[in-house]
Amino acid sequence: MKLKKNIALSDTGFVFDPSNGNSFSTNPIGLEIIQLLKQNKTQSEIETKILSTYEVDKNTFEKDYYDFVNMLGKLKLNAADEKD
């Protein structure tokens, strides 16, 4: 999963996509994942980071991670939707 390069993030979980003007809100863990994705971290790097920070087991997080990334795709925040 690669995010669009130019999306803007605020510390409070506000996400802005300048390519279409859409804005989104995300919770703290969602923000953390988006930041990691922006740094081009792989899924397993993200998983290691989250599992060491949060009270959660691998299965639960994996399920939620797929769901979240899927939503990012639906909301057209992935690089595949980027037009050059």
């Binding site: 989104f24 809100s25 919770n27 703290p28 969602g30 920070t53 939503m71 909301l75």
Partner: protein, 452 residues
């Protein structure tokens, strides 16, 4: 290092101007206890799902309603509408507060007798009363509200064979400006049917016409409809007085006051849309007082209020079975309760609160029940926080009609707990088990072996 509490990642598009379209402010606080009892503890003790009823809320609501009417009219009597919630313990809370019983079937009539209600304080309504049931009601001096001419003739015949004189009222239906008009019950006012029935009763002189009854609808959001109904019944009563020199002892205005639930399709939250008891009382009492009854002839005002007296006192506790993502991106949360036990989710957008702390981040969520059926939707669209499997929720304002209209479909009906005035929980209906169903079945001998 202590780890941070986990919540699943969520992201939601912000629609300018439409923010919070579905969420309501109050849904954003967790409800962790009911009358001093922790939700988690109640579920551990009695299982999930679980209906919980607050005796304190019942009594407070009843007293509020009673006060609204008694401060405006000298003679007021409530009669508990059994069909709304006929768990015996609930009925007896109302009876202890002074409510009579209002029943609509032989089964409900037996329940009222079982609960110790004196026969002359039972109002027997409804279109389905067998000759046997009518006979019992006559012998018990109950108030029989006649629904149709066949019933009138049956009572007339019975009366000639019994020593007691039946005490009857007729149910009157009428145009109160509210659509749809409930004209299938009772005798119509406008076309003269009601007066006709009254004349038959008085002239046959086999029974005593003691009252006039109407029930103009349910979840009525317009108090003015009651003003019209009260005026029309009063006119009938006064014309009976003039024509037959007989005073009507009571006018029964039925039920129908709205509770604080939010009707589907309503933009306003129920708590903002529903009139209070004071508004209904003002409409009814003013009409009765201005109707032209002479001093000392004012009839007793009977009210058969159901849902408005019990809805707020009832809660349904439940647990999350699973979460899913629908193809359109919406979140779906599957609960362990559905339309089988929360029948009223067909009419209302029930308020649902998580029973544990959560963050302010929400997703548009559909809440489904556990039935393998497409109609099993508890909330079509609610801004809901990220709950995970086994998290618990509290559904509000479920006291009316659910514990009577619930279905035993693919699972057992849950237990019901009453929390008393001292915050002590009492089991008032056991969770059903397989025997609750199997005991009634009979297996023919030749099918006893399934042959597999």
């Amino acid at each position: 290092m202590k780890k941070v509490q986990y919540e699943r990642p969520v992201i939601q598009r912000l629609n300018v101007g439409l923010m919070n379209k579905y969420g309501s402010r109050t849904e954003f606080t967790p409800v962790t206890q009911i009358d001093g009892n922790a939700v988690a503890q109640l579920i551990t003790q009695y299982g999930s799902p679980l209906f919980v009823i607050s005796e304190r809320t019942i009594r407070q609501t009843y007293r509020q309603a009673n006060r609204a009417f008694k401060t405006r009219y000298p003679k007021v009597q409530f009669a508990w509408s059994y069909k709304t919630n006929y768990i015996n313990a609930v009925c007896n809370v109302f009876h202890q507060e002074g409510s009579w019983a209002e029943v609509v079937s032989g089964f409900e009539y037996s329940k009222a007798i079982y609960n110790g209600v004196p026969g002359n304080k039972i109002i027997f309504n409804g279109p389905d009363k067998s000759a046997e049931e009518l006979k019992l009601a006559i012998e018990n001096n109950s108030l029989i509200h006649i629904d149709n001419l066949d019933e009138l003739y049956t009572i007339n015949d019975l009366a000639s064979t019994l020593t007691k004189r039946p005490r009857v009222a007729i149910r009157v239906n009428m145009d109160t400006g509210v659509y749809p008009m409930w004209d299938r019950f009772g005798f119509n006012y406008e076309n003269g049917e009601a007066l006709d029935a009254i004349n038959k009763i008085v002239l046959n002189n086999n029974m005593d016409l003691v009252g006039l009854h109407c029930h103009i609808g349910t979840f009525m959001l317009t108090p003015s409809a009651y003003a019209i109904a009260a005026t029309k019944l009063s006119e009938l009563a006064i014309s009976i007085q003039k024509k037959h020199k007989k005073s009507i002892e009571y006018i029964d205005m039925g039920g129908g006051f709205a509770s604080h639930n939010t009707l589907k399709g309503s933009y306003l939250q129920g708590i903002d849309a529903s009139p209070g008891f004071d508004q209904y009382a003002e409409a009814i009492c003013t009409s009765l007082l201005n109707a032209g009854f002479s001093e000392g002839e004012l009839p007793l005002l009977i009210l058969e209020t159901g849902r408005a007296l019990i809805d707020e006192a009832g809660y349904l506790l439940g647990s999350v079975i699973s979460n899913k993502r629908l193809s359109d991106g919406r979140r779906a949360t599957i609960m362990d309760f559905g339309v089988n036990i929360l029948f009223t989710s067909f009419w209302y957008n029930h308020k649902i609160s998580p029973a544990q702390p959560f963050s302010q981040y929400t997703e548009d969520t559909v809440i489904y029940g556990p039935l393998c059926m497409n109609i099993d939707v508890v909330r079509e669209n609610i801004a809901f926080p990220a709950l995970k499997k086994n998290d618990q929720v509290v559904v509000h304002t479920v006291g009316a009609y659910n514990m009577t209209q619930w279905m035993q479909f693919i699972a057992m009906r849950p237990a019901v707990v009453l929390i008393d005035m001292n915050d002590k929980p009492h089991l008032i209906r056991k969770r059903e088990n397989i025997n609750s169903v199997q005991n009634e079945e009979v297996m023919p001998d030749y099918l006893k072996d399934c042959l597999l």
